[in-house]
Symmetry: C2
Subunit: 399 residues, 2 copies
């Protein structure tokens, strides 16, 4: 009998009425609003917070990540949120409505910070982003994230750079005041989008091996260090085909794939998860931002000899009206000539290029091949030399 | 001293004032509005139509293609055009303006037919397409080109199917009448977009080997059967990495790449053209159409065991407002599991998917890998399982 213990779709009710519930769906016994306190791996038993014990033959962990907190006074006040679970989103929506919010502060400029600042601005709120660094989206080269920053500011979002948060307290006019190293900011709502870390508390309690990345170590079949215990998704590692290291990149598409692999193996059909290349993307207003592979620092860290270059161009042919600005950075290994990574930001076509280069990374293609790759040319979609070709040939000349 | 003989940017004047002209640009002697009558490969001399002889050490051919004519009475009348050269485009523009055209007929439903019918309709003309088949864009599966047909009709273009053209004569109200097997059509302008064929007249005169495709045979260095004679672009063949045959696919991006390779080899830097995978695309109104690799018929022809499937989905995640319909056909080899080809049509994201799959074809990736390929997921750009993954896994289950 398969069991599922965790938050299901009714998660939103959890905070107001957290009552354990049990139901069956598709032959699976689902227990929601319950918590696994401990797993006894010798007895092969899961101990629930309500005292129940469930025996298991095979156990699969999908504990995901937890949102990082700032560790500053006042961060637990009403109106201060993180955005990790569906319940968080519903709580934010309810708070926005109940409090007729007009001023929002987003702390952090990663994927969640970027997507939420757009959502808040689109709802008509006066929105500020507070960032400890100089540019948003630190996976992208500053030259590319500078373009993202322009887009954010063009859309009436205030972006504060090099700002450290100190404390949150009640505000004079708006409910909240955020104290920073550059003075106070007032708002109706504060979202802490400071990143996530793998939730490995349960795994550690069970004595499972934890990888260098801090996530649960797994093999290609998603088995942990205890063979009848599997893990999938944000809580565990994935093999990175470019760096050839086990990494933790908490993204929904990777989680979906690993879950499918674990399910297949557990169900008796052997399968391996072939790994990742680090492809990721987000949209910010009218810009696409996408990246894949590894950056120079990561490349140096694993012993490659990275060389890189940024090319600015157009997602369409020069003959087309309304050019679409597109920037593409390529990182390659000087010794082997292989592509190691790519980052793109543009008004159009950034994700398509990064996916193409992800397929190239998957098989370890070299820059000289990428410079002559056969792509589907038509003027609305690229020049007869695509920015991929131009960038690859330009970087090749640097090597 | 390098020479260039052919049509330069002033091509448009050719029909009205075709006077040979000579100038120098960047150390190259350019002769325009002149014609090479013959090449004496023993004497290594090019004989021009004005009687001049130019000696050569190395000769490069870029004779391109010629537009096919229908071979019907009246096809040379005023107002009947093909669209091959820049001069053709300028002549069409001039004719449209001088004759205040209101009704246009496009014969043919390939790339040029599709692009021009959109251009004519966008100019506000009542536009008809006459097609001998059932669906436009015959490289695409009828299920996908049916979607293209819907889009054409949605945009007020009349699309006649299974129509054979018989003759063109003067019309009663409009200048031209096109007789067909389904009765007459009247218009101000008729565009014959019947395809192109490699222009190999000169090459044949020189005794150069012509390939199975009817285009000039070349090697990876763009050398013809006479080693000091090179060819590049639409007039010659290219190695197809999927069918492993030499083919002629007349497209501007391939021509550009081959020209660069020929130039590099001639200039003393050895280089090889790595071949093509058949990537191509066009836009029709609000649809993207793109294809790559080979279709079932071509696959059978070269001895593969093709199996295929069409997946309809969405270019964005289900959670995003405004779904963007996208269809993707995959063709794979049952024996090896390798992808052989792909065709996509969609409101968004078709070209990006086809380029990703072109990179996969380039290195011979299998369907099981493609089903788990790491792509840059974010809801504005795909579901967490992209249509590429879904289609690959669906086809895999059929094998």
């Amino acid at each position: 009998m398969p069991y599922y213990i965790g938050d299901v779709i009714k998660d939103a009710n959890k905070l107001t009425a957290r009552t354990p519930e049990k139901f069956r769906e598709g032959g699976i016994e689902v227990m929601q609003n319950n918590r696994v306190e401990r797993v006894d791996t010798d007895a092969q038993e899961v101990l629930l917070e309500d005292g129940a014990k469930i025996p298991y033959d095979i156990l699969a962990l999908g504990t995901g990540t937890t949102a990082m907190r700032a560790g500053i006074p006042g961060e637990d006040m009403d109106g201060v949120f993180v955005l990790k679970h569906l319940g968080d989103a519903l709580n934010i929506k309810r708070y926005l409505k109940d409090n007729k919010c007009q001023k929002a502060i987003v702390v952090g400029a990663g994927f969640i910070g970027m997507e939420v600042c757009e959502a808040f601005a689109t709802l008509g709120m006066e929105t500020s982003v507070v960032h400890r660094g100089q540019y948003p989206a630190n996976r992208w080269d500053p030259e590319l994230s500078g373009f993202i920053l322009e887009e954010i500011r063009k859309n009436q979002v205030t972006f504060h750079t090099n700002m450290q948060i100190i404390a949150i307290e009640k505000g004079p006019q708006h409910p909240l005041r955020l104290h920073t190293n550059q003075g106070p900011l007032d708002g109706d709502l504060i979202l802490l989008a400071l990143g996530v870390k793998p939730d490995v508390a349960l795994a550690k309690g069970m004595g499972l091996a934890i990888g260098q990345s801090g996530a649960v170590a797994v093999n290609y079949s998603q088995q942990t260090s205890i063979p009848n215990i599997y893990a999938a998704g944000d809580c565990c590692e994935a093999y990175h085909r470019v760096s050839r290291r086990w990494v933790n990149i908490p993204l929904g598409d990777i989680a979906n794939k690993q879950g499918r692999v674990a399910g297949s193996v557990i169900g008796g059909k052997p399968m391996i998860f072939p790994g990742i290349v680090g492809a990721q993307s987000f949209r910010i207003f009218h810009l696409e931002a996408a990246a894949t592979g590894i950056n120079e620092k990561e490349a140096l860290g694993v012993g490659y000899c990275p060389v890189s270059d940024i090319t600015w161009g157009n997602a369409t042919a020069a003959s087309m009206p309304g050019p679409k600005k597109l920037g593409l950075k390529l990182i390659a290994d000087r010794v082997t000539g292989r592509l190691l990574g790519a980052q793109a930001v543009g008004e159009k076509g950034a994700v398509g290029r990064i996916n193409t280069l992800s397929a190239a990374l998957w098989t370890g293609m070299r820059l000289d091949e990428i410079g002559y790759l056969d792509l589907a040319y038509a003027p609305p979609f690229s020049g007869s030399w695509d920015i991929i070709h131009i960038a690859a040939q330009k970087l090749l000349r640097k090597m």
